[in-house]
Every structure is written in C-alpha cells, then in structure tokens.
C-alpha cells in the first residue's frame, strides 16, 4: 500500500481484526460494547459471552445507561455505635470507552452534562465516569425508519461529542480520531491500523453524502415559542387520553435524566441508591401534603414536551430531544414525538 496521500487522523482496520482490538482495549480500559440481550441491544461491559451487535440502530438503550446507570449505589453506610461511616464507591482510574455509540447518543451526552455538571456543584458520581469517558462513536449507515436526527439538527454522520468516529465500509472500519483523548486511547494499538488512503476517504465521503438529510432541522427557538403559545391547547388532552403514564419514553430517552434516591439496608448498614424516575409517574411531583401540582395525565404529558422543547431552550441548555426515535418505537400508546414537533413547528422552519 502506498503511503502517499494518507491521513494521520484517519486509520483503517480490517473488519476481521475488530474482536482482537476490543479484547486488547478491554484488558486496559473499562470497555462497553453493544451486545444483544433478550431481543434488544445494550451497552454491556465487554466480554465474549454475547456477540457484538453494531447493526441495531439505535441500540435499545443509550449511553445514558452507562454514564447514569440505573440503579447506582452512591455510597454505602455502616453504623458503629454512634459513628456512621460513609464509603463512596472506589474510583476507577481506567479510561471508560463506550464503543459504537451513535450520533444521537453522543449529542445527548452534552444534554446530560448540562444537568449533571452544568450547575454549581457537579454530580460526583457522574463526573467520575464522565472524566474517564472516551466516546468511540459509530456513523449510522442504515438509519431506522423511526430515526429523525436530521430534524433535531444533527444527522447519522454527526460526530459532535465523539472522541473517535468509526465509519463502516465494506470490509474495513475507518477510525477518525477527533480528540486528544481519542488518540490517547487508541495510540497504544497504532500498529494494528493502516493510515486511511485517499480512496478510502472518498468512499467515506460518498457514504456520508448518500445519507445527507432530506429533512431540514427544526428552528428550536421558533419551536420553543410555538410550544409556549399552545400551553392550553386541548391537543395535550388528546395525547393524554391514550398515554398510560408509564416510564418507557423517559427511561429509554438518552436525554431524560430525572432520578430519585432511596436507602436500602437496615439500622446497621446499607446503601444509598439512585435510580431513574419519570415525570410521567403521578408520584413524581406529589408533595408531602398530598398536593400534586401535576396531578393529571395531560399536565404530565405536556411537561415532558415542555421540558424538551421549552424549558431546555429557554435555559440555554441543549434541546431535550436528539431524534433517536426510541420513544416512538416503544410507546405502547403510539405517541410519536415527531408528530408533536410537526404540529408545533412553524412553517418558517421548513
């Protein structure tokens, strides 16, 4: 192979060499790979027990489940006489690689950062993982029919938030090294790769061009205003008439990050545990007095979309939806966020 016209930031790996690379990464890093469990694919600690699945688009669970696990022990406590000892989990010094995350999920990490790190006190548990994170993303070459990342201002090849972006071609993977962290994670394995040549990069560009969005992005500011204007629209009641008030949409959403905290154990010792909560659950906003400011289904359904498209934008945070379509796929009641966006998206944006 000629070494002319090659890129030192884009490397290629024969598809067959991927398992060995992953095994080598797993030996020194905390590596999460997408593998099938009971009909869906999730990011799991890497292992040989289940095959790798880079095909399911998007995976059933997002990167959220790695950075913000459900449930998660925040600390253990042990009582000794009048003393209580609190022990946080051992920090892990290794890099945390999430391998095969899609563009939507990588963008969602920015929204999670805004919640867990963007306030006065960063969340220590989240921060511990986030600082170690190396996001090795995967461009989507066959987006699902339910995907709408283009409309949410992104696309299957969007690399924002990724440290490395992989593009699968016929029998090779092209690794684009995007950040210092990405380089540092892969540098020890440099000899397994070839530098990508001009032809390969052309192929990548052609694949990408083939997937450019037909749909324009929404104008989030206009959407925000439109949603606000329709605060009292009876439409929310129509949606709520079918909504079951379950946690599917929020739990599978890569952006939704509400949680609750509970203690488990006894008087001698136990653990403080954080777990996912959902604005669709009636108890979510129930106050100690018994009063519930979002006491009915329409108020809760509305809240979900207001948070995503009104409060987030108003507060200068990333939009609450990245267009992964997981809620569209799994909502038993057939509630489709794309339809809601279309309803409120002012003509001007399209």
């Amino acid at each position: 192979m000629t070494r002319t016209n090659t890129s030192d930031r884009s490397w290629t790996l024969p598809a067959g060499a991927l398992p060995d690379l992953l095994a080598a990464l797993a030996a020194t890093c905390e590596l999460w790979t997408p593998r099938p469990v009971g009909g869906g694919t999730r990011f799991l600690p890497h292992g040989e027990d289940r095959p790798l699945d880079l095909a399911q688009t998007p995976p059933a669970h997002s990167v959220k489940a790695v950075l913000f696990p459900n449930p998660e022990t925040l600390f253990t406590y042990r009582r000794n006489g009048n003393d209580v000892a609190l022990t946080p989990p051992e920090p892990d010094g290794r890099s945390l690689i999430v391998f095969g995350a899609r563009a939507c999920d990588a963008r969602a990490v920015a929204a999670l950062d805004a919640v867990f790190l963007g306030r006065s006190i960063p969340d220590p548990a989240y921060l511990e993982r986030r600082e170690r994170l190396c996001l090795v993303g995967l461009a989507c070459v066959s987006p699902a029919a339910t995907c709408f990342c283009h409309r949410m201002g992104s696309g299957p090849f969007d690399a924002s938030g990724m440290d490395v972006q992989i593009v699968p071609l016929d029998d090779i993977y092209v690794f684009h090294l995007l950040t210092k962290r990405g380089e540092a994670c892969l540098a020890p394995f440099r000899d397994r790769f070839e530098a990508a040549d001009g032809d390969t990069l052309k192929k990548v560009a052609a694949t990408k061009a083939g997937l450019e969005g037909a749909e324009p992005s929404v104008d989030f500011t206009a959407l925000k205003d439109a949603v606000k204007q329709h605060r009292d629209d009876p439409y929310w009641e129509t949606l709520a008439a079918a909504c079951l008030g379950c946690g599917i949409c929020t739990f599978l959403c890569p952006v939704c990050s509400c949680f609750s905290i509970t203690d488990t154990g006894n008087r001698r010792g136990g653990r403080r545990v954080r777990y996912w909560d959902a604005c669709m659950f009636p108890a979510f906003t129930k106050e100690a007095s018994g009063h519930n400011p979002r006491g009915d289904e329409p108020a809760r359904v509305k809240q979900r979309f207001f948070h995503k498209f009104y409060y987030s934008i108003e507060n200068g945070e990333p939009p609450g939806c990245v267009g992964c379509g997981r809620c569209v796929i799994h909502c038993p009641a057939g509630i489709d966020i794309r339809e809601i966006v279309s309803r409120f998206q002012p003509e001007a944006a399209s």
Binding site: V37, G38, G39, G40, A60, N70, P71, A144, A145, T146, A241, A242, L244, G245, C246, G247, I248, F251, L252, S260, T262, T264, V273, R274, Y275, W276, A278, F281, A283, V328, H330, P332, A333, G334, I335, D336, R338, E339
Partner: protein, 318 residues
Amino acid sequence: MTGSAALAETLRKVFKDEKLDGLIGYAAGTTPLRPRPAVFTAPGDFDAAVFDGFCVQNLATYLRRHPDRRMGILVKGCDRRAVTVLIQERQVAREDLFLIGVPCPGMLNRARLLTEFPGLETGGVAEEGDTLTVAAADGPVSLARADYLLPACRACRHRVPTDVDLMLDAPPFAAPEADTSLGELTGGIDGMERRERAALFAEELSRCILCYACRNVCPFCYCETCFTDTLQPAWMTPAPEPNDIFFYHFNRMMHMSGRCVACGSCAWACPEQIPLHLLFGKITADVAELFAFEAGLDETTPQPMSHFSEDDPDEHIG
C-alpha cells in the same frame, strides 16, 4: 377491515345513534405497524379508525377514565372478558357501556416481525386470510399468520366476544384458533428444578427497568396507589434492584390470580421483551386447574380469590 371506510361508518353511526359521549377504539398510528388506542369524541374522528392484527392493547384499561359517561368500546375476546371482570369488580356498569364486538383474528408479534424484516416499519404487513405478506429486502414474502401470533393469542380460546351490543363482521384475515394452551406454554416451568427456575426468572427479569408499562397497560391494575408506590409502609425499594424487581412481578401476579384474562397486553407493552406470558400464563393456568375457573366469561360466577367455598383446594395448607 384495516382503516376501511366501512369500519369508520359503522362506528360513526353507533356513536351518533347511541348518543355516546365517547367511543374507545383504535386509530391509525404514525407507522403502519403501530395503530394506537383512541377515544373518539366527535363524528369527524372516525376517519382514523382501524382494526388490524396489531391492535393488541386491551382497551378495557381506559374505561375507568370515563366515569359517568356513556361510552362505546370496541372489544376483542379478551377486551370483552376484561369488561366483565371490571363489572364484577364494580369498576364500570354494564348499562353505561355500548359494546361493539369484533371477532379477533389473533394478534401479531410486531417485535418479532420487525426483527426479522426491518423494512416493515415503513412497508407494513398485508393481512389476508391466514397469510401475511411482508415487504422483505429482496421482495415480498408470504408467512403463515399462525406462526407470528403473540404467545397469549396462540393459546386463546375465546376470540369471539360474547354478549355485545353490536357484533362486527369477522375481518377477512385470521389464524386458525388455539394451537396451544397457557398450561402448555408455561409447562416447562413446572418441570424445572427450583434453582433452574429461579435462574430463568433472574435472567429474564434482570432486564426489567421498572417502567411499569406492564402494570399500567393492564385493565386490572387500577389501584389508586399501587403497592410499589406506597411509602408507609415501603413494601419495596423503588430502585430496579433484583429483589425489588422480583417482588414487584410476583406480587402483581398474585393480585392477578382469578382476574387475568390472558390478553397478553403486559408482555406486548414491555420494552425489554421480557416473556411476561410465563407469569400471567402460569397463574392463569393454575387457577384454571385448581378452581376450574377462567376470568371474565360470565358475571355471575364469583372470582375464586374473592370467594370462599368449602371444597376449595387446600393441599398447599398441608
């Protein structure tokens, strides 16, 4: 019958003639495989009405949301049985309801179809007779409808609703009735060693995220405050830890004994594809065996768990 003008017309006519406040049925969703529950409240709404093999969700669940209103409801066999249970439990009154029956063709396993033929999300499935035609990547493929039924529907022996106010014609597609039973579907569990059985459930339930879709979709999970949500006493930790997940599922199933109509909605709604039919199937098969009782078949036979009879089986007391 899918989205046919005839269905829309029939439902619209009933809505007007019976002066209903609302009619609960299915409307076209945003993709072909996702019809959705809908409450039609105006004559213009009915153009969206559909009925096809993906109308799985038990509509009886929505009835309690409309107290003091005269409601119409489209019922398959299992929805009709659920209405009966709700009447027995005094949650709804028969005279407030106008029941529109549809002979059920057996509902289809969407998750499995989508896994095997990813293009269906846009292409859809044509249903005719006992055959499904799906748009596969390299051209149309014919499948036997019977092979793609949901587990609960494979075992269902009560597809045709009884005692309805209006019966619709059978749709021009259906699978042959019952090729298995709930007992058979779940029989494997009985033969297992205790540990093996525990391992099976531990493995399957390890995916549960406690989203409670299975509870919320069930017509009989209508408690104002579920045992999962009480704080005093806190019966379980609300975090999805293995013990709590077990506690939730096995308790819910206890509460279902003699009430579950095996509609399969809970298993269908589960985003993690947890085979909940093993749970409701087992409890329902056990009730059938011990008490010779199937829920929702008539209003007069009392539910075994809310009724004492001297010859109730008592071997377990020892």
